[in-house]
């Protein structure tokens, strides 16, 4: 039996991304905690955040396969992120 301890799964301190968004885990954005005073956040262990994040990609992959046999890509890099890495 695995006993969950938040202390071992506490995410790192946030890094500011924009005026209203922070990031604790790579590519996982969160509303700035200062803007969550009316709707308090719960403590999320790292594994649970990862699970939700990965499930989202699983869901999108499933949707692709549901509607067509194959996804064609343009095969081109983002032209907007190039100017703002």
């Amino acid at each position: 039996m695995t006993i969950f301890r938040l202390g071992e799964q506490t995410p790192p301190p946030p890094r500011r991304i924009t005026d209203t968004v922070v990031e604790r885990l790579e590519h996982q954005y969160e509303v700035d905690p200062d803007l969550m005073q009316i709707t308090p956040q719960q403590d999320m262990p790292v594994w649970d955040s990862r699970r939700i994040f990965n499930a989202r990609w699983d869901h999108l992959d499933w949707m692709h396969a549901h509607f067509a046999d194959e996804v064609l890509l343009a095969g081109e890099e983002s032209e907007t992120m190039e100017e703002h890495p």
Binding site: I17, V21, V31, D61, F67, A68, V71, G75, T80
Partner: protein
């Protein structure tokens, strides 16, 4: 003549009659939880007056004969009937306004026939498109009706509301994909409704074309108990591309370029306006890191055979960039497009006037508008919502989308939506009245520009419903005559779309 369906008269005697018709007490539900769960839809709801929208009893029929007998009972006792499928609508089509008997069709979810020769599938109204397509996949075909509620809405609701599909430019919308129906009329007769006769014919010139009359009536003209639907070849490939613009007008121009390109495999083009990008930049991982130069987006998707889509995709990339558009990249293009099939999974929160995140429900005010008027309508709609947000503090402008809306003809008609967050916990009579006024002002702008107040959600809520006679204009007496002829006791979803006027 006065409207004769009113706040209901469902008593113990009526419930016993319903039990005798259904023959299964588990499918006749007068209990509070069964009624409460079926009294609202995802659209903002007057939660402070929740109980006023309870049906008096819910039934879950399994056959058209059961539906027919219940409707006949309703006529004998002058009790309102409210049909309900998935309950995912964005207006009040499935919300009881006067109590009554709710007919929930979820148990009528069978696939009756798959005909791979004449390319049809016949189903009950309670089946979901996602589940249907999981079954159809093994046969190499698909039923391509694809709303934002794709994983949770049901075929019966799609027919009742006259639904719009994300893939409609390629495959048509619900009304184009339904070939024929079995319908229980407001007086209880069971009839076959098609183009003419023939359950599997796509076109006929015999008699009157009744099929369209029974598609998109918001549950006011009957209940579909079976539907024969179109099957199309399952696409070999999907291609989606998203292009960014520094200003709305260039994105709007590019939308026109793409939709007039003549590429037949285009399934849909979506225009995101500046307010929508501003909203996504708060909460959507795809847009948060984008530079400030991204202020509007155009998305385009194609489906079909590889031999058609692959060369056409090169042209899409050229056209998408031809007016300063910048490609957002493969990851966003494929991923964001996939998420369009399931917008009901979006967490619903907005910002109050201080920027604090608060729980909000999602109102999607839609209209059908021509391409030429989109820029003007956008400005006026945002100004209206800004005024109400500033005054009341419980509304949030989540921006606008414009989607291609002409079946097989994507160049001129758009389903246009302004998404508005509403802080439901704060609602009271004053705030609800303000919201209805806000809706009405938005709808009046649509009419001013020659549009329709709804492309697919239905004009069933106050604020919209009272403008239906104005929009229908000289055809309104015809609408009222049809309603009165088919539903002499006004039992079928009464109070919707100003149709009570048919009995005045």
């Amino acid at each position: 003549m006065s409207p004769v369906a009113f706040k209901s008269a469902v008593d113990d005697h009526v419930v016993e009659e319903l039990r005798a018709i259904i023959g299964d007490d588990a499918r006749v539900r007068p209990d509070q939880s069964s009624r409460a769960f079926r009294s609202r839809v995802p659209a903002p709801f007057p939660v402070h007056r929740w109980a006023e929208h309870y049906p008096d009893v819910v039934i879950l029929p399994k056959t058209a004969i059961e539906v027919s007998e219940v409707v006949k009972l309703a006529n004998r006792h002058k009790i309102p009937i409210v049909p309900r499928a998935g309950g995912t609508g964005l207006s009040d089509g499935a919300v009881p306004l006067r109590g009554g008997i709710m007919i929930d069709c979820k148990l009528m979810n069978q696939i009756h026939e798959i005909d791979l020769v004449d390319r049809t599938v016949t189903v009950g109204p309670g089946i979901n498109m996602l589940k249907l397509n999981e079954e159809l996949k093994q046969h190499g075909v698909i039923y391509p009706d694809d709303p934002a509620s794709y994983p949770c809405s049901l075929v019966g609701g799609r027919i009742g509301t006259g639904g719009w599909s994300l893939l409609g430019a390629r495959y048509g919308h619900t009304r184009d994909l339904v070939i024929s129906m079995e319908v229980v009329l407001p007086t209880g007769e069971i009839v076959e409704i098609a183009e003419g006769g023939g359950r599997k014919l796509r076109k006929s010139s015999t008699g009157l074309t009744l099929k369209q009359l029974f598609t998109g009536h918001q549950g006011t003209l009957g209940i579909t108990t079976q539907a024969t639907l179109e099957l199309v070849p399952r696409p070999e490939v999907e291609f989606a591309a998203f292009f960014a613009f520094d200003e709305y007008i260039k994105a709007w121009e590019t939308t026109g370029i793409l939709t007039k390109s003549g590429l037949a495999t285009i399934a849909g083009v979506v225009l995101f306006d500046e307010k929508k990008i501003e909203y996504l930049r708060r909460d959507d991982e795809a847009y948060i890191p984008q530079p400030d130069t991204v202020n509007a987006v155009v998305a385009v998707a194609m489906y079909g055979r590889r031999c058609e889509v692959e060369p056409a995709s090169k042209e899409i990339m050229r056209l998408g960039k031809s007016n300063t558009g910048k490609y957002l990249g493969d990851e966003i293009s494929a991923g964001d497009w996939a998420s369009r099939h399931d917008r009901y999974a979006t967490p619903l929160h907005g910002r109050d006037l201080d920027g604090q995140a608060v729980l909000m429900s999602w109102h999607c005010e839609d209209a059908a508008l021509n391409y030429s008027v989109l820029p003007q309508v956008r400005e006026e709609w945002h100004a209206i919502v800004a005024r109400y947000r500033e005054r009341y503090g419980i509304f949030d402008d989540w921006g606008m989308f414009a989607y291609t809306s002409g079946a097989h003809k994507p160049w001129a008609d758009y389903l246009v939506e302004i998404d508005v967050g509403i802080w439901e916990q704060k609602l009271n009579d004053e705030y609800w009245a303000a919201w209805v006024d806000c809706k009405r002002e938005i709808a009046q702008v649509s009419l001013k520009y020659g549009g329709s107040i709804t492309a697919c959600h239905g004009a069933t809520r106050e604020g919209d419903a009272d403008l239906v006679p104005e929009e229908m204009g000289s055809a309104w007496p015809v609408v009222k005559a049809i309603k009165r002829a088919l539903d002499p006791n006004n039992v079928m979803n009464p109070g919707k779309q100003s149709l009570d006027e048919a009995y005045e």
